[in-house]
Amino acid sequence: MSEALLETRDLVKHFGGIKAIDGVSIKVMEGEILGLIGPNGAGKTTLFNCITGTYKPDGGKIFFRQKEITGLPSHEIIKLGIGRTWQIVRPFKKMSVVDAIATGSLLRYSDVEKAKEKAKEIASFLGLPKDILEKRGEEITLMQHKLVDLARALATEPKLLLVDEVGAGLRPSELSAMIDTLQKINSERKVTLVVVEHIMRLVMSISKKVIVMHEGRVIAQGKPEEVSNDPQVIQAYLGIKPI
């Protein structure tokens, strides 16, 4: 059995009396696209926050490339090769798009000109039109924001990218484009993806494997078809029809 790129063991995180994550153990294999689904409050974003170091777990361990990263400060974790995007976009409003992406590249290339070059390259890889590069964060559309978020994270050259509900608010055509983009990132840039998503169409079509969380625990894992027919999963969602 090959070693996992990312592994969590019995991860626990509470807030006051609430157990947001209650003993979560998952493995993410290199090169795959892993879907992470579950009803609201299941603990998916909390899991992301623990992995990226924004939250310190109250129990359990996290391993990245077989090295323990539990409790490390966020910037070190990012440096080791994990990136993330945001559920609600977090643009650098007053910076130009190219500058924002370049700020990500600066992690790997200290020279500003080189970082900007890399930024432009990533922008075109993701299909961002050249004319928005000089626009400020506050001047672009939602879909463009999401691409910039992705670009900025990709600029740090992660091995693992955590994608948090990138589909929210997109029109069907934009959603299809996003599906293609994510697949491109995975296949051409060799970035492993963990995709948290509520929009089933997106997550089920690109994931090789899906993990379902509910109330802080993993209740099912497997191929998308298996998971969507699992009665426990259906019950947890109550009303969301499996595809």
């Binding site: 910037h75 990012i78 007053k94 924002a100 900025r152």
Partner: protein
């Protein structure tokens, strides 16, 4: 920040404007010692505001303790001369280093994750008062004077015209430092921290370290300027640790526009000159009119035009571009 365009054209233009300003002023004021001293003081204040821009504008921290650093640097430099005979041309580096040390002691705990920005503002405001009280205990209420020697070794001249030139050099150096920061990795990182600290962390930025860097650069510059301030003031005492002056620097920085070098300079020159006018004309009948002015303008700017003077210049630029 984008008032004059981008890139090296911008730098050349800015330096040209500043150089013109600095040359024109003495031609206008030549001969009158009062105005020469005033001009030198205004230019020095402008340098302080430009330095403040590094911590306030780029790093986004409300530093209200400017004169803690000015005072420490100035007094250390002066004492090194008075007590140990070290000429200030060298001594200012020790002064700057001393201020830097103080800044780091304040900075390290405050930039811990989870401490809100407001505590930094309070700590720095408190710092000035602590130093004021402590130095009053250590130095007593007396005024101290620098030795009467003059010359470049001591960065001290009886002619205010020359002091004006020294202050101008300091201003230009501070501006250059800001420009260098803006176009470097540190500048990008600081700007992103100010935009969204959490997002900045998620692209690998050690926000605490970079805020500390900004603080260190700013405090070092102020420490150096402290000595020139003492030369212009002709004496020093515990009163150098002045809260109102510290607030004024921050206020001028905000009114100029956070992150804008030219905004800070314009705001400092206008407000400081106006303030000086109020103080000399009305000082006896209506004390504090200058500070009242700063407070009122600050509130108005905060509510209606938080981007300050730079924001106004931007709007004018945009409007002019549209007309073309």
């Amino acid at each position: 920040m984008v008032a004059f365009g981008t890139g090296s054209k911008k730098i050349a233009l800015e330096l040209l404007v500043i150089a013109i300003l600095l040359v024109v002023i003495p031609l206008v004021l030549m001969g009158n010692a009062y105005y020469e001293l005033l001009a030198a003081t205004v230019v020095l204040f402008s340098s302080m505001v430009v330095a403040w821009n590094i911590i306030g504008g780029y790093a986004g921290q409300l530093d209200l303790g400017a004169f803690a650093y000015v005072g420490v640097g100035g007094i250390i430099t002066s004492e090194l001369w008075i007590k140990a005979g070290i000429p200030p041309l060298l001594g200012i580096f020790a002064g700057g280093a001393a201020s830097l040390l103080i800044a780091v002691i304040i900075g390290i705990p405050t930039f811990r994750f989870g401490i809100k920005e407001v505590w930094y503002a309070l700590l720095t405001a408190a710092l000035v008062v602590i130093f004021n009280n402590l130095s009053r205990v250590l130095m007593g209420p007396t005024d101290y004077y620098l030795p009467p020697k003059t010359g470049i070794l001591y960065l001290k001249f009886n002619s205010y015209e020359i002091m004006y030139a020294i202050a101008s050099v300091i201003l230009i150096l501070t501006v250059l430092a800001n420009l260098a920061i803006e176009r470097s990795k540190i500048g990008y990182y600081l700007k992103s921290i100010r935009e969204d600290e959490l997002a900045a962390e998620m692209i690998g930025i050690d926000t605490r370290r970079y805020k500390l860097y900004a603080l260190m650069i700013y405090s070092f510059f102020l420490g150096v300027m402290g000595y020139i301030y003492i030369v212009l003031a002709a004496s020093f005492s515990y009163r150098m640790f002045d809260s109102n002056s510290s607030l004024s620097i921050a206020i001028m920085g905000i009114i100029g526009g956070l992150g804008s070098i030219e905004g800070g300079i314009v705001s400092a020159m206008v407000l400081r000159s106006l303030g000086e006018y109020f103080r000399s004309s009305f000082g006896s009948t209506v004390p504090g009119l200058d500070l009242l002015l700063y407070g009122v303008v600050l509130v108005i700017v905060g509510i209606f035009q938080p981007e300050g003077i730079a924001g106004i210049i931007n709007r004018i630029n945009k409007a002019m571009k549209k007309k073309r």
